[in-house]
């Protein structure tokens, strides 16, 4: 059976990708952020995952408002980077683990989740940036296959935080019942605090962000019990993205070990974080 070897967390701010593209990682603005990502890269290099289940939200690129799925799971053979308006970024296509995606979808449906089944789609910075942060930007091919898990955190009603946590629990059982010897990581992406719209634009909440990074490991029940409005109030209008870290956390054991935690604010207008968790028993 496949094995879940770790839960990773990462912001997916597009300007992080742009900073890497433009070689700005050592500027005053970006150095403090990029200085802290090394241990995350080292962990994946040492632990050699075969598959990354990437939990992220589309930002009005793959989906328009005409049809918005609450949860959508990819079971395609590959996922190309999408044109968000500036042309597709020059990164390799992501190879999909179609069989694991189908297996996850089967287990979700049997466990009273209602996914959209996706066999053809392109992916935006929400998936791209975390992949670059953990694996670096490859010349030809990514070192892992991916299964994208799209979560609607933009158009209301967005799912409940507790539902996201439960989704993670189902995905864990799906991964560990998958016939194969794949080493799998689940990556929760988005956040941390940021607000890009309204008069409160530019709001960040470093204190709440640091508490989040602590409690997502040590006390996820508290974060799963918050309301959707709590997320927006605490973390800004776009801070509801943090609910996607609960999917990752739900896939892990109740007890985890924090192998790496990093926080810097602001990355562009966002509190930026990275987290590496292992199950204690592992």
């Amino acid at each position: 059976m496949a094995k879940l070897i770790g839960g990773l967390g990462s912001s997916h701010v597009p300007s992080i990708g742009a900073a890497m593209d433009k070689g700005l990682t050592q500027t005053d603005d970006w150095k403090p952020f990029f200085d802290g990502i090394g241990p995350g890269r080292d962990w994946v290099a040492a632990n050699k995952p075969d598959v990354a289940v990437v939990v992220f939200n589309d930002h009005g690129n793959s989906f328009f408002l005409d049809k918005v799925p609450t949860f959508a799971i990819g079971c395609a053979e590959h996922y190309d980077p999408i044109d968000e308006g500036w042309g597709p970024r020059a990164i390799p296509s992501f190879e999909g683990h179609a069989e694991l995606g189908w297996h996850m979808i089967d287990r979700m449906v049997e466990n009273r989740f209602d996914p959209m089944i996706v066999q053809e789609i392109e992916v935006d910075h929400g998936l791209q940036v975390p992949m670059e942060l953990f694996f670096g930007k490859p010349d030809k091919a990514w070192p892992v296959k991916v299964v994208p898990v799209f979560v609607n955190v933009i158009q209301y009603p967005i799912p409940l935080p507790s539902r996201c946590y439960e989704l993670g629990q189902v995905l864990r059982r799906a991964i560990e019942s998958f016939p194969g010897d794949e080493r799998v990581v689940v990556i929760g992406t988005g956040g941390l605090s940021h607000q890009l719209q309204g008069a409160r634009a530019g709001f960040t909440n470093p204190e709440a962000d640091r508490e989040f990074l602590r409690d997502i490991a040590a006390n996820p029940g508290r974060l799963a019990a918050l309301s959707r409005e709590d997320y927006v109030r605490l973390f800004g209008s776009e801070g509801a993205e943090l609910m996607m870290w609960l999917v990752m956390r739900g896939a892990m054991d109740p007890e985890v070990v924090v192998k790496h935690s990093h926080y810097y604010v602001p990355a562009s207008m966002t509190g930026a974080g990275m987290l590496v968790l292992e199950n204690r028993a592992a």
């Binding site: 300007s15 968000e84 308006g85 008069a199 409160r200 634009a201 530019g202 960040t204 927006v232 209008s237």
Partner: protein, 116 residues
């Protein structure tokens, strides 16, 4: 949920129904052909999506605050900045009603010359 959180436009039912056409127009800009159409005749491109005069005015003046007031969501309207360059922090500052330097300093804790 609208207005329950001060100065924070939740993209709820009423807001997104109001902004549907505006956001659809902006979403169209993921297509290079539409970007060319926008560049070469902005009025004609906007008319294709049935925008009101108020909405067209907001787009043509790059009035981000007003576009959001009219139901625009930043993830869609941001695509206009691929054609008329504007940094995310400038779009944020405009909505906060601040000049860019003040926004960087007061909201993001940057030194006057910083930001990106």
């Amino acid at each position: 949920m609208e207005d329950r959180i001060p100065d924070t436009p939740l993209f709820d039912r009423s807001r997104q129904r109001r902004g549907y056409r505006l956001n659809k127009m902006a979403m169209g800009l993921v297509d290079p052909a539409n970007r060319d159409a926008f560049r070469s005749d902005e009025d004609a491109y906007l008319d294709r999506f049935g925008l009101s005069d108020e909405e067209k005015q907001a787009v043509k003046t790059r009035n981000w605050q007003e576009m959001v007031r009219l139901g625009g969501n930043v993830f869609y309207i941001l695509k206009i900045s691929a054609i008329s360059p504007a940094r995310m922090t400038e779009i944020g500052a405009h909505q906060a009603g601040m000049d860019h330097d003040t926004f960087l300093r007061e909201r993001l804790g940057k030194k006057p010359a910083g930001g990106q």
